[in-house]
Amino acid sequence: MGLWRSASRGLRRLFRPDLARRDLDDEVRDYFATAVESYIRAGYTPDEAARQVRMAFGTSTSARDEAAGGGWEIIIETLLRDFRYAIRTLRKSPAFAIVAILSLGIGIGATTTAYSVIDAFDFRPLPFRDADRLVWLSEITPRDDDMCHNCPWLTAGPTALDWIAQTRSFDGIAAVQTSYGFLWSHDDVVESLTADETTPNFFGLLGTQPLLGRAFVPSDTVTGALPVALVSYEFWQRHLGADPRVVGSKLLSPTDRAASVSQPFTVIGVLPRDFHFRNEAVVWLPLRLDAHASRANRQLEVVGRLQQGRSIAGARAELETISARLALSDPKDYRGRTATVKPLRDLLVVGTANGRFVLFAITMLVLLIAVLNVAGLLLGRAAARQTEFAMRTALGASRMQLVRQTLVEGSCIGIAGGCAGVLFALWAVRFVPRWLSTNDAGLTVGVDDRMLAFVAALSLFVGIAAAVIPAIRAASTNLNGALRTRADGGIHNARASNVLIAIQISLALVLLTAAGLLSRDFVELRYLDLGYDPYGLYSTTLLTAASPKGDPQEWARIAEATRNHLAALPGVVSVTLEHQSAIHPAIVRAAGANAASPSTTTPVLKAVDPSYFTTFGTRLLLGRQFSADDRRAALPVAIVNKTAARTLWPGRNAIGQQVFVGDSTNVGELLTVVGVADDAERGEMMSRHWPAVYRPFQQATIYHAAGSLHLRLSSDNASTLAAAEAIVRKETGTSTSPFESEQLSLGSRLLPKRFNAIALDLFACFGLLLAAMGIYGSVAYAVTQRTREIGIRIALGAQRGAVVGLVARRIVVLVGIGVFAGVASAIALTRTLQSFISTTSVTNPWIFVASVGLMLAVALIATLLPARRATRVDAVIALRGD
């Protein structure tokens, strides 16, 4: 009852303040009138009675004010009043308000965006049913695991069957064999699709129900069963016309995966839109694990669902026991191997958590600078408002009120900054999926209630944090001093703002250095020597329909015919074939080298045409190109790249040396090196300086029926490309993928780096700008504060330089301290960036020198601009002022 009364009275007073106030006014007036009457009745004249009442009870106004001070709603009312006052004062200085709000807005927005990424990747449950019980199981060697903790180490089918049969920790274990090319023929063209094979229980294990039709059942995998397939939502939308009657229709495949029988797949279901698992497979086929398959053939990713209450450690122990048993019974396949169980998240969100946290840390750094900056601004304002505060104290405002007022002003800025930040984050979040591969795990990054809660908490915290120092200053306002003169207020404030500026400078320097490193890396990759010329270069994958058994020789014949036709096409400058196998040959090393030298990386071996280096625009550093004379019967030759020449024959001339290539130490070929080519960046950034060995296509072993074809065109001519595609289609009987511009694919490969570089550059510019503003504000403030002193000095004959020195000296010291601290922390912190950088070292001294130089230049400008004003102080006006 009491609670209800209290709430209803409070609410009434909050929302109908006029009624409540009138009620109280009436009561007070009545009280005083009755009091006066009683005095009159006691014999006083009306005037005397009123005087007596005032003496005895005080004035009616103060009584009313005191009586109005009760109840919980007063706190809210006071806060609202403080907020209104804060907004009013902020509106009176719009420049300050805008700068402060934008600073915090960008800082909060950046942090929020980074947080949304971390939230999606690392905190939110994966988009599967009871995802915390999902784990992945893999065979590993301890060394592999050390080298790459989150790599998808693969498992052999029979091992997975052992796990299924012998473990007790799991509700189920499923296996996936990923990314197998599947040729789909429709409308007399053949396309290459990505297909995954999964054990029938896979979708049930993840808790995924098909949108249409059914998932796999065990009978789909028995010999002679109807070949069935599930398709992805996108594939169904794009290629199957989103037909709701698609279940039961046929997908034609010209080649069956194992047998050489052409057999159509029957579509039995469409997967839901948001289903993704590791890659962009569009078709899923049922997989049967074969107990008699080779135990050395490890191709499966294995996923398990832990039983309720079972731990990962317990499951791992079970797997380790099984591995130990296998190592005894089958040492050939299992020696040195064990098995492990890890959260599924570790597999899906591949090892870039570090990068995400670095990004988050950097945005926090930006936010920190922004907060320090706003604190500095508030401090400057507090100093300017010292007289106001002193006046209010003199008029009866308590210290608590002043502190509360300052904090409320801070949170006002914080909340407004938070709103700006949400807008910024809404905009920035759209870029995230392009930059981090969110689709692999089916993750979505977006602004949701969690993020808004994060922003709300962050904004309030940040606003109040920025106001803490000024609030402390406000609390210790010295009435006497402040009212008498406004000259000495600056000294205490100066100490606090000195610290703020020094910290800002050092933080901005850390940002600058990090941005410098990443930008340089990007610029180097983008514009500097790639080792080849991506402009006018087009590539495609070459598959053939006419070699159904995947006969490599047949493929090679068709490929060469296609290449010859393309070379004759007008507009084509040159064309080359390229063939390489991911697994063959197992050994590529300098002839006669010690077999057991595990430290050197195995070079890649590519079979290429004589026109290869011309087509790519890769320079030959030594020796000769391949020629038409390097044919099958002639001496087997090779060209190595610079890195291979250096690692295979350190300190020696590579020309004339021999390379051994083969699948075992006894069976192989010796190639004589006739040339050394420049390193060319092709594919992953990290692999530019990977050793490579090239051999003539005509002399090479063709391992499988696939390869790529590269064209250099004289101009970017769509009709030439169309003609080239027509030739490929005619010769190979497939439509394969269209020619892809190397320039564009290079751009998309560089996109994440570009994004990192641009984002960090923006952050750094912002940090630099804020630091500059801090310096500018502080110097400008010092100049205003000391106008009178400067006037006296000028009147006494001080020179311009001396006057500038007077106001700038402090900043010089601060910049010195800030730069020193900044360089030290940058050296310590930028180490974490090494994993993002491929071309330069994080300790590159020039980046540090350049960052410090830029920081100093900006600091100099920010100091001199306001300091010059000091020299223009007119002695007469300054002395007359005040």
């Binding site: 009275r9 009436d26 009755t34 009091a35 009683s38 009870f57 009584a63 009586a67």
Partner: protein, 112 residues
């Protein structure tokens, strides 16, 4: 009527509620009536600040100890009359017992 010469004192912290409850237990009263009654009975020892009194009224009303009602007073003036609720009476009993216990303890302490 307290004279300006006699020493007066502010109400002992925490006893204002007790005094109000006791005063209102006799009859419903308006604000100034409560002041007068307390001053009369204590012979002007306690001086009631109207602000504190009205604040206490509000608080006690919210706690459900007293009820308020606008009425016309003896001399035809509209005044807000306060009266004790059942809960207020109970509170008065417990406060009174509490006070007796405490003041007794203090008195004993001072006598020894």
């Amino acid at each position: 009527m307290p004279s300006a010469n006699e020493p007066t004192t502010d109400v002992i912290q925490g006893t204002l509620d007790l005094l109000i409850l006791k005063t209102l237990s006799l009859e419903a009263m308006h604000g100034f009536g409560v002041t007068r009654r307390i001053e009369d009975i204590t012979q002007g020892v306690f001086r009631i600040n109207p602000g504190s009194l009205l604040l206490a009224f509000q608080r006690m009303e919210r706690d459900g100890l007293i009820d308020a009602e606008w009425r016309t007073s003896d001399n035809n003036r509209r005044a807000k009359y306060y009266s004790l609720t059942r809960k207020g009476r109970k509170r008065l009993e417990s406060e009174r017992a509490d006070w007796a216990r405490r003041s007794g303890a203090v008195a004993r302490l001072l006598e020894t």
